[in-house]
Amino acid sequence: MEEKLKEIIDVIRINKLSYLEILQLLQEKFNFVPMDYLNKICEMLEIPKSKIYGILTFYSQFSTNERGKYLIRICDGTACHVKGATKLIEMLKRNYHLEDGKTTQDKKFTLQVVACLGGCFLAPVCMINSHYHGSLDENKLKNILESLK
């Protein structure tokens, strides 16, 4: 941890990262925000812990729990809900034992049910990491997930 921490602190110092950017850097590096690292960073850079924790808990892009390799953000907003998002969520539960906020045991998938992804015209829609997948049905989603290594 020591070496990795030093490396991260250097990046923060050199680039004079804002609190938000520090969190993004950690999220990107670890796929979640490890609190032990954040704690050390706060101590070393004299950042008030409450301030950065406030930002961390405000944005859903950050997670303090380890996430799977693939983050599935499935929309259950009005349009998607009408077009059958519930069925997709049920399929994920049935086939992958996934629930909102949970990660599969093999750390491959994490599910997040969200209110809108801004792609209503593709409803029902989901995002897997940074890619959009639209006009889904149970099979299509299953095939996409199966194709991921």
Binding site: P48, K49, S50, K51, Y53, T57, F58
Partner: protein, 904 residues
Amino acid sequence: MQQKIKIEIDGKQIITQQEKTILEVAQENGIEIPHLCSDNRLLPYGACRLCIVEVEGEKKPVASCCYPVYDGMKVFTNTKKIQELRKITLELLISDHPLDCIICEKSGECLLEKYAYEYGIKEVKFTGEKSKRTQKDGTPFIIRDYNKCILCGMCVRVCSEIVSSDAIDYKNRGFNVEIISGFDEPLKDTECIFCGNCIEVCPVGALREISAERKGRSWEYKKVESVCPYCGVGCGVVVYVKDNQIVKIKGQKDSPVNKGFLCIKGKFGFDYVHSESRLKTPLIKQNGKFIETSWQEAVEVIYQKLKFYKETYGADSIAAIASAKCTNEENYLFQKFFRVVIKTNNIDHCARLCHAPSVVALNETLGSAAMSNSLEEIEKYSDCIIVVGTNVSETQPVTFYRIKKAKNRGAKLIVIDPRRIDLAKIADVYIQPRYGSDIVVFNALAKIIVDEKLYNEEFISLQVEGFDEFKQYIEKFDLSEVEKIANVKIEDLRKVAQLYAKSTTSIILWSMGITQHTTGTETVFAISNLALLTGQVGKKGSGLAPLRGQNNVQGACDMGCLPSFYPGYNKVIDKTTIEKFETFWNEKGLPDKPGLTMTEMFENINTGKIKAMYILGEMPLIAEPDTSNLRKSLEKLDFLVVQDIFFTEVCEYADVVLPALCSYEKEGTFTNTERRVQAIQKCVENKTLAKTDWEIIQLIANRFGYNWNYKTVWDILEEINSTVEIYKGITPKRLLSKEKIQWPCPSEDHPGTETLHIGKFKRGKGLLKIVTYKPPAELPDEEYPFLLTTGRILQEYHSRTMTSKVKGLKEIVKEPYFIMNKTDAEKLKINESDTVKIVSRRGTVVLKAKLSNNIQQGTIFIPFHFYANILTHSELDKYSKTPEFKVCACRLIPANSDAGTESG
């Protein structure tokens, strides 16, 4: 000058200034607008939406707390539409607020309750999901009942804007928002310093004092306005009393000193008042044991003994130590007793151990030594603030809040301190010199100011003397010495010199880091030089500010508890002084030779010159240097009287111990660091035999055959009005009608003096002094490789007589500790909390280690409250006789025994 504008609120024509909000103007003009998240002491926020008003020309209602006024504006604060909207807002708030007002501690002072009543809200219209906020851990002082939180953000903002701790913030968003500390941890595990200001601003019952839980409700308390008994700021407090018990303390919102803000000690440190271990009766030592006795007998013993030593060895065989914690009236009477009845000038007090160098130096260069400006001026007017040798956020927290607000306003902050104190975090320039090298730093600044022609020629020609000689000297000063001796970069000092000299208003604040050196007085000369060169003195926000340590150390000096001054800084050596006071006091033969200073008194016990001593509310075994030696001196004393509120360690050496009342049990006045004289009121009745200090002194004086007849403390203040010029207009009548007046105040219709030295110095012209660097008396060597420095910490006060009785404080500072550098610790294989033996040439203490990189390598810091003075030496500053507490040499031995002390 801000432009005057005309606006209309609810039909009322108002002339006001731009850059104010509607809410501010309304409040100033007695028009009430309900609000939950606004406070004049904080920046506008606009969260609660209760303060909405209608403005002509605006389509929608606006939040009056955030909306600036403009010329010709028409505002309507209470239309039907506004009332309806406010009602809905209140109903929404109440729909997520428990309605347990009948058992709520805040009832009677809760703003939500008040507005709900005023707007006639009878039922909860909006039902549905409720937030699941719960209580969080705020021990040992604060209840954080977030169930009642209305998310106004007042606590978050006060913590950030004023206190600068940033211990709390919002977590989550939307419906799940709540207030958390740190990473949602118990408060005591975070940056929280327990100042309690979050409680002060909370409009509802979410934040409360643990001490007051189930003790009573707002209307059941007697609320007494008084002054905090701790540091030199002298914050106004409101003491909540029920059944003769202090239940909680709040800040006095209209106090010009603290505006309602407090620190941990002032807010929570009052347990000592009701402590079981308070002294209750006079004690006399018989056969080595103390026995309880009557006042009559105690006074008789003191009379017989003092009379004996006076008659046998002369009046100067008796010495007295006054107390910076007693009132002006008590200190005045105490010195009067020794001068009139005993006829000695051997009277001194703890100012000798702190600001005596400032007093000596500034009296010589300016003619008056007190802080030249008010705290309000720092906040409002100072554009450049130099903080040097004072860890102000721990020693005078409320002054720190002022500095923080000045910083928020845009003032430049320069911190000069060998320890990287918390204040350095928010400084524009931070300079870390070596210990005891300040003279070099200030001389270098003076040289840069002279070389770069940053000095104020006009000011110098009108108000300063000694410039030519000074210029000649400083031009030859070698700037490279700064890097060699102080380890400071010249470039950084250039920045400081520029900021200090060029800012419209600059002020320098300092305390013990400057004075507690063998060169203390000379360092203050060097500081005074900077102000005189640049003319940064005698203006609003410009001046010299020695920050005083104890709540009445300024007053004790003013009252003449000094061996070379009669009250009002009348010099003992002036013949006119003696004549004047012989007339005032109707007594012939007053002592006309300067007496011994406190440090000299103890030396003279060893030589046999001092036989008897009278100590008033002071604990020299913590406060004096080289305390092992001091113990031996105290043992040699033939007769010792100690008058205190507790049986302190020095009482062990006493022959008579007298029980005194504490400040919350009596009346009188205190003078704070900014020369402001404030009255204290009696809050609780002490039912033991303890008396006020002035009553005790009067008893003894009268046993000596004097006919003193002060009936109340105010009779003494009236005498002070007639004998102390600077206090002339500060009468009981004015103080009791809540005036808080800064001296000099020459007449009863004079408002007091906020800024000193305007246009003219008391001594005529200001004097530039040539000073040269001398190293500290004892520096590390091979045998004692570490430099030991001492100082105060936030949670403790002086000798801990009071703070050690406060349960909550003990939970925060669990055990005595010292601070050392992390790299040093690694080398010596010392871990956090390890027990370490610290040895100097004078003695040994055993303390737990705290590791930090805020202290330089090769240096350790011991809070002086924890017996640090077993280790320090008694080399004195030759002008003021102040010891060099800030530098001595020591070595560290990792040990395995429990933390504690041993002398030897």
